[in-house]
């Protein structure tokens, strides 16, 4: 596997991919089943509404406080980590981050990397970058391993292979590893584990993500359920952690509620099986642990979001995935439809800062604004409100200084004209009533086809008489006004 890993190319635009996904019954069933189960688990993990709401409020405040002091906390984090023997690196772009990671591996003359789950490394497309330079980078999280075997990208930030059912995984293992097919999930896990265990011992470098970077103590906190994260960060002689700059929090006390919110919102767990607190490389008197620990702090558009008081709230995100689990759109189209690293509601609001609205012009519109995401977000990011904001930025004249990367991506003079007419109609009472009169009088002329609406509905026929008309007559009879 030392050749370039061909990540499946995503073709077509958002709507085309959505249509393809909607036509795939197996995919629809896989997602519906999984999301239903995750929603139930989350609900069961928060039996007390008052406690849940208090905790969410607290989570929001902790993150907001951390963000309000972000530059200071990052500086403090660097100082403390350096004191602890961790080497801290800063990357403004994914290219820089990849170069840094590659540089560290090269210095150690490493050729085999084993990875714990990390969405930031997905953001960097680190596997592909390293593969092009002759370095094998193996995913050790079971879900990540499955999508890597199938040359895919994760379809969910917590459960990367959630789009596949057990039979599909069994076939994949059969095809790639020569294992006999089985329906038994435990057996599938055993197969994956057997294959991966050997790799940990051989690896030159372990790569991981970070859930919380604690400034006061210089600690990197990592949660996981499979033990692969602990192995990736302790077995190889070098550990490289990669994370976004928004993951920093002030102190360990802040972590307690955030951790509880994260694990309960994500999988309905009171706590994950493993909680790793990493505070430096192996000390002279210690028997195990890596000789070197590095942290790469990635910006990749985050400071752009930070600069805008409203969009800054996107940086509250602790990557639990609850918004996608509860999203009726995500549930139907799955993660790959979004075509970007972060799918679902949170993906729609964090991706524009990273790649620009030109690359994801349809994302802000792909929501009925039902509000389910905002309702479950453990740190109270008002996702619908931010989607609305992105819609505004999306249709602005690009000549006005854009406030979000590639603002004005959906600017359309003809659409602006339509809304201008709509405004005239609804601000001129006589015109509005004339419209009502015409629409009700000539209701039989309503065309049977009315754009995309009639793809899913029969054409809406206006009533015989408008409420304006009916109310006037009725109230006149009642002697009202």
């Amino acid at each position: 596997m030392s050749q370039r890993i061909p990540v499946t190319e995503l073709t077509g635009d958002f709507r085309q991919r959505a249509e393809d996904a909607l036509g795939d019954d197996q995919l629809r069933t896989n997602f519906r089943t999984a999301m239903d189960s995750l929603m139930t688990k989350r609900a069961d993990a928060f039996p007390d509404e008052e406690e849940r709401e208090g905790l969410r409020e607290l989570g929001n405040r902790i993150k907001a406080r951390a963000l309000s002091r972000l530059p200071d906390l990052l500086e403090q984090l660097e100082t403390r980590l350096t004191e602890n023997g961790v080497q801290v690196h800063w990357a403004e772009t994914v290219e820089e981050a990849n170069r840094l990671v590659h540089g560290i591996i090269e210095r150690r003359q490493g050729s085999r990397v084993v990875k714990g789950k990390s969405m930031v490394s997905e953001e960097m497309e680190m596997n592909a970058y390293l593969a092009e330079r002759g370095i094998e980078s193996l995913e050790s999280d079971m879900g990540e391993y499955i999508v890597q075997l199938d040359d895919e990208k994760p379809s969910h930030i917590i459960m990367p292979a959630i789009h596949k059912n057990r039979r599909q995984v069994s076939r994949l293992f059969h095809d790639h590893l020569g294992e006999p097919e089985t329906d038994d999930v435990n057996e599938l896990i055993r197969i994956g584990r057997r294959t991966l265990r050997r790799k940990f011992m051989d690896a030159d470098v372990g790569v991981s993500g970070v859930n919380f970077a604690i400034a006061e103590t210089g600690t990197l906190l990592l949660v996981e359920n499979e033990g692969n994260g602990r192995m990736s960060t302790t077995a190889p002689p070098v550990h490289i952690a990669v994370t976004g700059i928004e993951k920093v929090v002030q102190n360990l006390r802040d972590v307690v509620p955030l951790l509880s919110l994260l694990t309960r919102s994500a999988l309905g767990q009171p706590i994950t099986t493993y909680v790793n607190l990493i505070s430096g490389p192996r000390k002279p008197e210690e028997l195990d642990g890596p000789e070197e620990v590095h942290l790469v702090l990635l910006d990749n558009g985050r400071t752009g979001a930070f600069a805008d008081a409203q969009m800054r709230q996107t940086l509250n995100c602790i990557r639990c995935g609850a918004c996608m689990n509860h999203c009726p759109v995500y549930t139907r189209v799955g993660g790959h439809t979004y075509g970007e690293v972060y799918p679902g509601p949170i993906g729609k609001i964090v991706t524009p800062h990273m790649v620009g609205l030109h690359k994801v012009p349809d994302h802000p519109s792909a929501s009925s604004l039902c509000g389910a995401c905002g309702e479950v977000c453990p740190v109270k990011i008002p996702i619908p409100e931010l989607l609305q904001r992105l819609r505004q930025e999306n249709v602005k004249n690009p000549d006005e200084a854009p406030k979000v990367k590639d603002g004005g991506a959906k600017y359309s003079r003809s659409e602006r004209l339509v809304w201008g007419l709509w405004q005239q109609l609804n601000t001129r009472p006589l015109l509005y009533r004339l419209f009502l009169w015409g629409a009700t009088r000539f209701r039989k002329l309503t065309p049977a086809k009315a754009g995309p609406w009639t793809d899913n509905h029969t054409a809406p026929v206006p009533a015989r008489r408008s409420l304006h008309d009916l109310a006037k007559d009725h109230l006149a009879r009642q002697g009202g006004r």
Partner: protein, 278 residues
Amino acid sequence: MSELFYDAAPNATRVAPERPVPRHYPAKPPEVILFGTCVVDLFFPEAGLDAIRLLEREGIQVRFPANQSCCGQPAWTSGYVAEARAVARAQLELLDAGLPVVVPSGSCAGMFRQHYRELFAGDAGMLEKVERLSEQTFELSEFLVHVCRVNWQDLGSPTRVALHTSCSARREMNTHLHARELLDKLSNVERVDHDHESECCGFGGTFSVRMPEISGAMVKDKTQSLVASGADEMVTADGGCLMNINGSLDKQREAFRGRHLASFLWERVSGERKEEVA
């Protein structure tokens, strides 16, 4: 757990709205304004009229200002702020008459109560009016339950209904609770649950025409679960959802239909059985 709730410091960047605080309701007023909403105006006018009748039955005189049009929501959710603001301003001027404003649609009421603030953020003069309107705005079922405190005798024959509430209305106005309470007052009406009841019907205003594939899949699932619920019909207090659900049912040639809550309620309490107005 309480020791965890230490002061996490105020935060300057937070814009997230608080969970709506329990609302204080006034005594029953002699007079109200009905804001019909544009969808009801053109497609479900009988529902608007039934809302007027329900209010009059409680001894309330209803005003229907002829210059009303739309709350501005379609432009607002499409990102056209200036256009939405112009339309909102026209309604604000009209509705600022010191009377309660009753709205037979949760999402339009939610627009008045929640989103006008965002629409006029920074405009102190307008915000004063916005606050007054927000205080005075009541979704119809909320008004019937908490202000009129209706007490009805059900004159209809036994029936089973499924209740659909629009998402924004449910989350912003608690309409599901109010509508349930009204249905519970009717002795011959049994409310049945349907699968994924709290999931969006897929309307979402312009979402339904911008993303027809996804919206269509959502409304198809919603209609299927409504049909499978065993209810005789669906009731909802939102014109947008009603148009979406009925239009989809018609397209699928299903006989099952939804009806506006106001029309359903009026039929039950007046004993009048009306012909469906297409």
